[in-house]
Symmetry: C2
């Protein structure tokens, strides 16, 4: 069988599974999720062995990639916890809006239903396999998983364990489908199957995003880069500004919601910047500043045009002194990626204006950008952080993995 | 300037306009909509003249296409009413969800914001120009309109009148952008501009849908065909079944929510079909039935495999006798387009099961499929009926032309 036919056949099986899956009871889905967690637990050594094979083969990967590929005992335990946590969350499927009644007596409402078949294209991290399979199952969607070739042994082991447990628990075959062919053509074919796959979610770096969005005939919800800013206003509490800025840069710099640039009102810059500069540098942060910033922070480098709007994903912070909030907002429009934007201020009018006029998946007052996250927002779980404006924006929880249908109750109404 | 650069420049202007437009007050937007309606009224003769030029040039169009292209005095008046109706609707922009508070004190909520720049690609009907410009303006979106070449004079006249009035009312230039170049390459270029256009909505026939979805790099919400069914259950009120089926087929057969096929439970077929058959045939409906149907309705034709799943859009109805509701639902899965599906029954268990298990943008009990419509559902207006599963499904009103951003209020929270 050629690759196209093979991918079609796998996607077709997922589509076939998606119908019975969409009307499965919450109880059966939850029991399956618990059984999947149990099976991961029972097969920890096998998963570790498979992961070892991938790591042994990964001779050309960067340290960061190797870290993402590695399944530590904690990460394998986290997969189990994640599946059990998803089982404990409310089922979004079947939840109904208030009904309204039209003058002709028709009663109308909306009910949540699964999207159908979701294709996930991801890199490196094999724990994504279990996490996304759990989220899709709970939300009643079949999933077609396509992991990176570097994680093929880990992913295959995990998927075989999950599908075995799911099948025993009454989940239709095909509901969790893994494309275990490392050929890149499999992705291209997958992205053309509008008849079988309803939504594509790519998770990974910029190269993957661009490849998927340029090729896909299927709707895509991107989980793209975050170039997040903190604007420290004239009326900021400077201690708070320091704590929040430090946290947003340093706590986990490799994430999309870490802050990449600080915009500082010129009135408070002479007080604020030397202190935060010293604290950041002591934590190993390289500072790339505008000329005025460089004059206020010893050992800061001059930023180049390229540094504004860059997702560093490491301990580098760009800093710019701005005349006022308008200049800060203009900078954010020009260089931000509409991911997460924070203002630090005690001025109510300034915070209201910032919340209204700045557009991003999350806009915050006096809080670290690192909070833009499904767990931190209280959604209970997350598929990732959408940077697409339609359907889901920001953290995607279970509800965002569903769509709605209108339901109408009549007693014989006809249109005039 | 070549076509690509010309389209980029127009789309760039729309993007530039979209930012100030997104935060414009409801009052200014409503005044602009009223002014646009006034301007249409003041320029009725000029619009009729421009339409006459299109009609004179339209020597090769079908009668149906000519009808859609024609701007009767009533249609020109309807454009005005439409704009004033949209002005009177609530503004979705800025509406905020309930806020929730996290254990760390963060307050989180969601606020509706415009999508940004919406590209509309449509055929024939020049009234779509005014309708969609009004909906996009009210929802704070810039719009890039691309109408069919056959309506170029009508569309140009309407757009010039609208943009003049909008500009005088304080709407930023570029907010209503019309691509007045009939070259098809303009569409291809438009569909590649992910940097400037956030969403594409195609409105038209299957050829247009396929061309747009296969080419677009921008997210698309399709308004595609409707292959709608009515299932007349064993426990149906037969008089109601007759009235609803007749209405759903005959009242306006050229629309996407008209019924194309009737599925009839075998127990009631011998009573129901001769009566409805006679009534439909008296109204000029051609019946194409399964063998059993043909034996019950004189002069009915035998349906071919091709007739199941066909969007006739005219006075033709396919009829099939089914063993039970399972067979009806199986037929709907195989041949329906997930647009509108109705069951006629007085059996509560049957209606509940049908509502749960049948998946379509609207699923109805005892009502004509013709009600799947934004005005009929009480949304106040509609951009069309989405057949895409993500973001908006079924009638798209003003709210569906917006997206959400998270807003977060803190007092210095940092992540541990």
């Amino acid at each position: 069988m050629n690759i196209r036919d093979w991918v079609i056949e796998r996607a077709r099986q997922a589509k076939l599974a998606s119908r019975p899956l969409s009307i499965l009871s919450t109880e059966v889905k939850n029991q399956a999720l618990e059984a999947m967690a149990d099976a991961i637990k029972a097969n920890e050594p096998a998963i570790a062995d498979a992961n070892r094979k991938d790591l042994d083969a990964a001779t050309s990967l960067s340290t960061a990639m190797l870290d993402r590929l590695t399944l530590t005992p904690k990460r394998i335990a986290d997969m189990q916890t994640g599946l059990r946590d998803v089982a404990a969350l409310p089922d979004p499927v079947g939840s109904r809006s208030d009904m309204w009644t039209r003058p002709n007596g028709l009663q109308i409402g909306r009910v949540r239903v699964p999207i159908g078949v979701i294709g996930i294209i991801y890199e490196s991290r094999p724990n994504v396999t279990a996490d996304t399979a759990g989220l899709c199952l709970k939300s009643g969607n079949a999933v077609v998983l396509r992991g990176g070739s570097e994680a093929i042994h880990s992913n295959t082991a995990i998927v075989n364990i999950l599908t075995g447990a799911a099948s025993d628990a009454g989940i239709p075959a095909g509901a969790i489908t893994f494309l275990d062919n490392p050929d890149r053509q499999a992705v291209t074919e997958m992205l053309s199957l509008t008849e079988y796959i309803d939504l594509i979610i790519p998770r990974g770096g910029e190269g993957l995003m661009n490849a998927v969005t340029s090729q896909s005939k299927i709707p895509v919800i991107k989980h793209d880069k975050g170039v997040c800013h903190i604007y420290v206003d004239r009326d900021a509490d400077l201690q708070m500004a320091q704590d929040v800025s430090f946290n947003a840069k340093v706590q986990r710099p490799g994430t999309c919601n870490a802050t990449e640039a600080l915009l500082v009102h010129e009135h408070i810059a002479p007080t604020f910047l030397p202190a935060i500069g010293m604290k950041l540098q002591a934590a190993g942060v390289e500072i790339r500043g505008c000329p005025k910033t460089v004059s206020l922070i010893p050992n800061a480098k001059r930023a180049t045009e390229d540094d504004w709007g860059k997702e560093f994903l490491e301990l580098i912070l760009a800093i710019k002194i701005v005349d006022d909030m308008d200049a800060a907002m203009k900078h954010i429009v020009s260089y931000g990626s509409e991911h997460t934007e924070t203002i630090i201020t005690n001025n109510e009018a300034a915070s209201q204006r910032f919340l209204k006029e700045v557009d991003a998946s999350a806009v915050m007052v006096n809080a670290s950008t690192r909070f833009n996250d499904g767990f931190q927002f209280g959604l209970g779980a997350e598929m990732g952080i959408s940077t697409t404006r339609i359907h889901a924006r920001g953290p995607m929880g279970l509800e965002e993995l569903t769509c709605q249908k209108f339901v109408v109750h009549g007693n014989g109404q006809v249109r005039e």
